[in-house]
């Protein structure tokens, strides 16, 4: 098997110094990947492989830009800038961000639902939809608005082998007050209908449970629940629907079960140390998800001798380090 470090990547600070295969600082993406399939986690998070095409993934790019735009808008609004001015500034910023300086052209997407135009339209329509929004962004003790908050806190769960404490980390969209209750908000896009099934997908949900816990622990606030703004993206328009979920009802149960998952993670990391570069256990009930094969299915199908060759040929590497703070 080829040496995985032939092109060394920047150091991933979320992993243990003592047991390098063990991630100590965990975000919902990492934990969700491990819960989905240990080998998926191994390839996508620990080793950082992504399909070449994912770099051009229109859904991903669109989602990132939409979040960046709304973060800027929320920040401007919390500075008492009027909606119209904040929106114009946000659109200007988004148009600049989606201009590709290298190719001297606007971002070109192959997905007609997720283009530069539908992005600009969605931002404007979203703001218009919620222009009389009763949700009020919380202002933190340091005077800053509680928007796109990076969090990191001790889980109270320790590694058996290294005795390090696992940290939980990530980024929360916004903390708001609604009818004197505090909620975490998030935005989710889909091309499908915003019916009850859409919101059911987020409760129970790994990411939402972690957000709920983080809101309670890090920001020392009694979190009532999560507000999800669903955004349906289609070529001819966007639809919006707001939903409320309450994962906090099972907060303690979720935290208790987290011990199970972190033990499994550690056991697998110890196995990696014993037998480097051997595939991690596969959850072969998840090789097809949401009607699509897993992005690593072609790796898992091949015999061991071909594994590294396929990874080198069809995938790129990047570092998934949840301790790196986002910037807009």
């Amino acid at each position: 098997m080829n040496d995985l470090n032939q092109n060394p990547l920047p150091k991933n600070t979320s992993f243990s110094e003592k047991l390098p295969a063990l991630q100590i600082s965990i975000d919902s993406t990492s934990l969700g990947a491990f819960k989905t399939c240990p080998e998926y986690y191994n390839l996508a998070i620990r080793l950082g492989y992504v399909l070449d095409s994912i770099y051009e993934n229109a859904d991903l790019k669109w989602g990132l830009e939409f979040h960046a735009a709304m973060e800027l808008f929320d920040r401007l609004k919390s500075q008492n800038i009027d909606t119209k001015t904040a929106l114009i500034e946000t659109i200007k910023h988004t148009l600049i961000r989606t201009w590709d300086k290298e190719t001297s052209q606007p971002w070109i997407s192959e997905n007609p639902n997720k283009t530069r135009f539908t992005l600009i339209r969605a931002v404007i329509w979203y703001v218009e939809q919620f222009k009389n929004d009763p949700l009020e962004t919380i202002i933190l003790a340091n005077g800053k608005p509680a928007v796109e908050l990076s969090f990191r806190f001790e889980s109270g769960i320790y590694s058996m082998s290294t005795e390090e404490q696992f940290m939980l980390c990530g980024h929360i969209d916004r903390l708001i007050k609604f009818h004197n209750q505090i909620f975490v908000t998030d935005k989710k896009t889909t091309k499908y209908q915003l019916d009850d099934n859409f919101f059911d997908h987020f409760n129970p949900d790994n990411q939402m449970s972690l957000y709920d816990l983080a809101g309670s622990v890090v920001f020392n606030q009694q979190i009532e629940g999560i507000i999800i703004d669903g955004i349906q993206c289609q070529v001819n328009g966007n639809k919006f629907r707001r939903g409320f979920i309450y994962p906090g009802i099972n907060r303690e149960v979720w935290l208790n079960h987290l011990k199970f998952w972190l033990r499994q993670l550690e056991l697998t990391a110890l196995e990696e140390q014993q037998n480097p570069n051997y595939p991690w256990p596969k959850n072969d009930k998840n090789c097809i998800r949401y009607g699509r094969p897993c992005e690593f299915a072609k790796v898992c199908r091949e015999n061991l001798s071909m594994r590294q060759k396929i990874l080198n040929t069809h995938y790129k590497r990047r570092v998934w380090d949840p301790l790196i703070t986002r910037e807009v």
Binding site: G32, L60, G63, L87, I91, I96, W99, F117, Y192, N197
Partner: protein, 110 residues
């Protein structure tokens, strides 16, 4: 930018500024002209030259397009409502599976 397009752009902006714009007549092609105006500034490495006047027409037209979209959607709703119960009654459980499989969760972790 061609002279014809330029004139069309100037006329449209003027109509908007005058508050009597027939927004219904502004199609996506016209919108593209405004996008082009911004793109030209970016192409020339002048993002700072993008002004409120460049953005404002895009915002106003798209807000208007939203109103049109909502009206269109409410106009086609009744016929949809007629069809839906039939389909649901027939294959309720398989509909749920179908929706779960097709659900787009690519942005799960953003």
């Amino acid at each position: 930018m061609s002279e014809i397009l330029k004139t069309q752009l100037e006329l449209s902006v003027k109509e908007l500024e005058g508050g009597k714009s027939p927004l219904e007549d502004i199609d996506l092609q016209t919108l593209e002209i405004w996008f082009d105006r911004i793109n030209n500034k970016l192409l020339n490495g002048l993002p700072q030259a993008i002004t409120e006047d460049d953005i404002k027409p895009i915002v106003e037209v798209l807000i208007h397009k939203r109103t049109q979209f909502i009206m269109e959607q409410s106009a086609i709703k009744p016929s949809k409502a007629k069809r839906e119960p039939k389909a649901k009654a027939k294959t309720k459980s398989s509909n749920i599976i179908f929706e779960a499989l097709d659900f787009d969760l690519d942005l799960d972790d953003l």
